[in-house]
Point group: C2
């Protein structure tokens, strides 16, 4: 079956045809293109297609809107990836309900398949915001693509944390079109993000962020990721929906603990009680994901660590030590040692405990 | 085999004979009393008994110190429970290494077998102290005996929380003699505690709190409890030793989550990763302990809840509501509803979420 971008865009523009209906249409009519030429009466013979959907398909076909959408996307520099074509992310192809098309501003690279999602509440606490930025930085710093949803709160800080590292990559999966970034205050962040990752959406180029879009959007966040870490979530947070998607998709679920006095940690504690893994550091996440544990080993192999950093790591040994004591023992200037420790910390190879640094044991 | 208190006290006073050696002595000599009359050369034939222990046994026997110890305990109002007698706690009898004797100031009652231990670091944070007091109050409020170690920090607040409820019971297991309470600032607390529970120790009446005593003491804390909840613990806290004892003894282990920015929650997060159950409320603990879950059901049965409280619980339903809204809906004075909610909260039947109250779902 040849994939025809314009037909998939047209079916997607109806907002009523997902992968399951698309498959049935192809089975009945041979291709999406033939289905779009079929009369309403024929369309309605397909199980699951009634008055509403059949009208929408016929209307789309007549309107020619798909061709205009494709042209506009091209003029905006937005790619459209079609389900069933080589550029379409393998991690989404295997979902139960993959998006028919994926609008991408920026670029999805091979290495973005090693993604970890950071998600959480819009009503985050200062603790949650700090931790989102920290995990975003730590994960991106070791070469993991940070996936999130560009929402206010946790998502924003997770993207920012990733962009704060020298070559950190991050993907934002939107509940609106990639040319209708929401919330408005994140438009600058979205622009920077598209240069170091991508804005991704299954919704039409200029689709508004309708509330109904977000739960569906969440399945793409988890779908693009090997695992998801919930930073903060109230008892009814949308982040818990993403965790449900992740479990259904066989992705690993992690949760950050917090104060039991904070309602924003209720959801993460619930997840831990249900079997999610408690994560305190990026290393806790990487160790549990086979594909990423090998990255972690790769990054921390002698080749990837500078001679200076190697000296500092050797000096640390298994103990927690201050930069000052490492400097004294290694006869290096303290400022040099501090800088090396900070670089190692940014890559998750050492952790700071107050004034002390400790090497992260490798998986 | 008849149990002879004076002989057990004598063997215990040596500080070198535990349950295993006691058993071997009885096997060889017929009774502890006969062992105490045996010559050194005979004692040394028992595997595990060398110069030091045999000398100590002979010396104890000659000194007559045990009779004096028993007399002093009696004059102080301290009971001594001997291993193998009916008054000795059943929960300790089944341990691998039960104390030979147990000094008790106050009283161990039948219901104290439904104990839950609250343990944690001496260097606790304000968060840990608040939570220790809260769990102490919530557990004691539903009739659970709170077991802890009278140490500074978490232990102190756990006992205080239990004593703060109208009939709350609490046991303090000491690392010193019950007539040598440590730390000194807790002597007043110890006095109040002995009236509503007991001070318990296997160490001689006036034994000083030697550091080596505390790890051994911890096995009695977990041994007297159905489960233990670690409130806060650094990575090398003694509370983790208690958790190890608890796991070895088949007790349920619970841990309170906290901020990943707090070193005092590292130990509890480690426990959760190793399989301890995450506990946010007293109900989380009770639900997992069959013997206590039935208490919880008993307390929350219609008979144990007053008609007013029943009205308030019914009004709450499955939702989180303010006292004001429950008052409005039930046409009761707000002050009456608030007081009922507080009483229900103290018994773990509702939880407060800021200004909101929510009924605790029953196991």
């Amino acid at each position: 079956m040849e994939v025809d971008l314009e037909s998939l865009v047209a079916l997607n523009l109806t907002g009523l045809v997902g992968a399951a209906l698309h498959r049935r249409l192809c089975e009945r009519f041979g291709s999406a293109r033939s289905a779009l030429r079929a009369p309403r009466s024929e369309l309605k013979r397909v199980p699951g297609i009634g008055d509403l959907t059949s009208s929408a398909i016929v209307e789309q076909s007549r309107s020619g809107a798909a061709a205009i959408e494709i042209e506009e996307a091209a003029s905006e520099g937005v790619s459209i990836l079609a389900y069933g074509t080589p550029g379409y992310p393998a991690s989404l192809s295997t979902l139960h309900d993959p998006p028919l098309v994926l609008y991408v501003r920026g670029a999805l690279e091979e290495r973005d398949l090693l993604g970890v999602a950071l998600v959480g509440s819009r009503q985050a606490t200062p603790y949650g915001l700090r931790q989102a930025a920290r995990f975003g930085g730590e994960l991106a710093g070791v070469g993991v693509t940070v996936v999130s949803g560009l929402a206010r709160g946790i998502d924003t800080e997770a993207h920012r944390g990733a962009l704060g590292t020298p070559e950190g990559r991050t993907l934002a999966v939107l509940g609106s079109g990639v040319a209708a970034v929401y919330p408005p205050e994140n438009r600058g962040l979205a622009r920077r993000l598209a240069e170091r990752g991508a804005l991704v959406s299954e919704f039409p180029l200029r689709a508004a962020p309708s509330p109904g879009n977000f739960p569906r959007r969440n399945r793409i966040i988890s779908g693009l990721s090997l695992g998801i870490l919930v930073i903060e979530a109230g008892e009814k947070s949308g982040a818990l929906i993403t965790a449900d998607w992740a479990m259904e998709q066989g992705r690993e679920v992690f949760a950050l603990p917090g104060s039991v006095e904070s309602p924003m940690s209720r959801g993460t504690h619930l997840l831990i009680r249900q079997g999610a893994k408690l994560a305190e550091t990026a290393a806790d996440v990487l160790e549990e994901l086979p594909a990423l544990a090998s990255i972690l080993r790769g990054v921390s192999s002698p080749a990837a660590v500078s001679p200076l950093e190697r000296t500092v790591l050797r000096e640390l040994g298994g103990k927690a030590r201050t930069a000052e004591s490492v400097a004294a023992a290694s006869r290096l200037p303290e400022v040099t040692v501090s800088a090396a420790l900070d670089r190692l910390a940014a890559r998750g190879l050492v952790v700071c405990e107050g004034p002390l640094f400790r090497a992260v044991p490798l998986a």
